[in-house]
């Protein structure tokens, strides 16, 4: 039971990171119907940006307050990654808008390959570690054999994810920008005729998606303490799976999907074999999609005849 509780906490943490990345996938898909395959690599890139910011702050500037360093790193990573997100949309996707559906998808794969190779060349192929930032833990439960803990890191990750989900849900459902986003999603030309700047709305969506990836990247670095150029691919694919599982286009669905994938993976590694954890996660995806093709929280496409 104690073991189960500990694995549950670990799974939720991993799932929260997947959920954060999945939010970016789902928002971009929601507005232009395109799977941004470069999103996983944007996430990896943001981890590196966070790493560099962290090293500059601690070794060059000699900051010691952990909370302050973390906050500055987070903000810097978000801003810089958002700039990357904006540039990627501008260079690789916007010229292809109005082209055939597959073109931006292929372009996204190209961007993905470019980003991972770019980081490999400029940062080297080895894993980059950071010293552990936050080591404190809450002890939730203790007996002779086993201690169930929730580390500060895990608590930070879960609360950040919950807060960002709530914030983005509010943004999309309740603000004028969110209405413009949904209008662009449903009928881009009509939205333009109502005075909405469609290009700017799409750009901003990419910027927000990249900023979310940066939060995930910073938290990932905080949690694992190590990052390498190839770290974008697997979490990216897992997060995409999470977005599809939860119902692509739905924000709560993305986080729910992330949590499910995270939990399955963790429990499978804990009780069965760690080698097969990815198989288990993707198997669940297949099963869910067979019975509910639009995902858990996705709206089914109703075609009126």
């Amino acid at each position: 039971m104690e073991f189960f509780a500990q694995q549950f906490i670990n799974g939720l943490t991993l799932g929260s990171i997947y959920g954060l990345i999945a939010l970016g996938y789902t928002m971009v898909f929601g507005i232009i119907g395109m799977v941004n395959f470069a999103h996983g690599d944007v996430f990896m890139l943001s981890s590196f940006i966070a790493l560099i910011c962290f090293l500059i702050l601690t070794t060059w500037l000699g900051l010691t307050s952990v909370a302050l360093v973390f906050l500055i790193v987070l903000i810097l990573a978000m801003v810089l990654t958002a700039l990357w997100g904006w540039a990627i949309e501008r260079v690789a996707y916007r010229p292809l808008r109005g082209s055939f559906r597959l073109a931006p998808l292929i372009s996204a794969i190209g961007v993905s390959i470019f980003l991972s190779n770019f980081v490999q060349v400029v940062q080297g192929a080895r894993n980059k570690p950071v010293p552990p930032l936050v080591r404190e833990v809450f002890v939730l439960f203790q007996n002779e054999q086993y201690t169930v803990t929730l580390s500060y890191k895990q608590a930070i990750i879960m609360t950040t994810t919950a807060a960002l989900l709530a914030g983005f849900w509010y943004l999309v459902q309740r603000t004028s920008f969110g209405r413009a986003q949904r209008a662009c999603e449903q009928d881009r030309r009509m939205a333009a005729l109502l005075g909405i700047n469609v290009d700017r709305t799409i750009s901003l969506t990419f910027v927000l998606g990249a900023a979310l990836a940066a939060v995930a990247g910073t938290l990932y670095l905080l949690y694992y303490g190590v990052v390498s150029f190839s770290d974008g691919f697997v979490p990216g694919v897992k997060a995409f799976t999470a977005a599809v599982l939860g119902g692509i286009g739905s924000l709560p669905g993305a986080v729910l999907g992330g949590l499910i994938i995270g939990l399955i993976e963790t429990f499978w590694s804990a009780y069965f074999s760690i080698e097969y954890k990815d198989v288990a996660a993707f198997l669940i995806l297949i099963v869910v999609l067979i019975f509910k093709p639009s995902g858990i929280l996705g709206r089914p496409e109703v075609e009126k005849v």
Binding site: G167, Y170, L171, R174, T175, S176, F177, R179, A180, R182, A183, Q186, D187, R189, M190, A191, A192, L193, L194, G195, I196, N197, V198, R299, K304
Partner: protein, 299 residues
């Protein structure tokens, strides 16, 4: 001889028509490859008028609309929009969303293009995106819930609620727009277009598919727009019961060429219009042309 005055006017008929024009279409030509969809069409839309653009199928009416609202870049010609304060915009040079944002032209389409998954209220609020976006400091203030944004949001909701009341949908304001009956969706589209505060409202076949009762409701709505708002209306319509009842002025196109321009009474008796609508046998063409003075004009 009302007919003759229209016919005898030089091709630059822009000089005729209403004195205070909100829209001046000047020698508009639109070619698609070898096909001339609209050939040298000129007309004016008077400020505060309801102007109807009619003609048989394929006459080029929707093409004219698409040029006005920036969907097509005209091959030749100018489209000027004059606002009440004298500001003039060349519509053919504005990018898509600026036709609405800057020049304040709104339009609807032949098919319904509401945002079906958004509620009735949200559909109208989307149309007020520009002022709201400015008030919200590009969403920052919106997320923080600052009072300036809340005030702007409340004002937008009031305005939307007033329009919902005018089209009689208050009891369904929070339902998805896609669930409304056809006639209500039509009027909701017009209300949404009006929420952008247009100086010119272009309606493409607003009465298509409406039953007589709904068509009557549409007439009431259009008259209300003309009488109570500073919005001029340009509409394409096949339903003559709508056109003749509410139009102040009618422009008739046939095969991409303007064949008549005048008040409903003038149009009703215009031989060329009747010929275009009813069609004439080949043998009679010469007779009809002689009657309307075409042969004389070309000779």
């Amino acid at each position: 001889m009302t007919l003759a005055t229209i016919q005898d006017a030089p091709p630059a008929a822009v000089s005729g028509g209403p004195d205070d024009a909100v829209l001046i279409v000047d020698h508009l030509t639109m070619r698609f490859g070898g096909l001339t969809a609209v050939g040298d069409v000129s007309f004016k839309v008077g400020r505060g008028d309801i102007t109807a653009l009619i003609g048989p199928n394929g006459a080029g009416k929707t093409t004219v609309f698409n040029c006005i609202t920036g969907f097509y870049k005209p091959t030749e010609g100018m489209i000027r929009l004059r606002q009440a304060d004298g500001a003039t915009y060349m519509l053919e040079r504005l990018p898509g969303h600026d036709v609405n944002r800057v020049a304040r032209v709104a339009r609807t389409f032949q098919n319904i293009r509401l945002f079906p998954q958004m509620t009735v209220l949200e559909n109208l609020l989307v149309a007020m995106h520009k002022p709201l976006m400015r008030a919200s400091g590009f969403s920052l203030a919106g997320i923080l819930g600052l009072s300036g944004y809340r005030k702007a949001e409340a004002a937008a909701i009031d305005k939307a609620a007033a329009w919902i009341a005018r089209i009689g949908l208050t009891h369904r304001a929070d339902e998805p727009a896609g669930d409304l009956p056809y006639g209500d969706q039509r009027r909701l589209e017009i209300a949404r277009a009006m929420c952008t505060d247009p100086v010119l409202l272009c309606l493409d076949e607003p009465a298509a598919g409406l039953n007589p009762r709904e068509s009557g409701e549409l007439n009431t709505l259009l008259r209300l727009i003309r009488d109570e708002f500073d919005t001029s209306v340009l509409l394409i319509e096949h339903d003559m019961s709508v056109v003749m009842k509410i139009s102040d002025r009618i422009v008739v196109l046939d095969y991409g060429i303007k064949i008549a321009d005048g008040t409903p009474e003038q149009i009703r008796t215009d031989t060329r219009v009747i010929a275009a609508y009813l069609g004439v046998d080949d043998e009679e063409v010469a007779a009809v042309e002689a009657e309307v003075g075409l042969t004389g004009a070309s000779a």
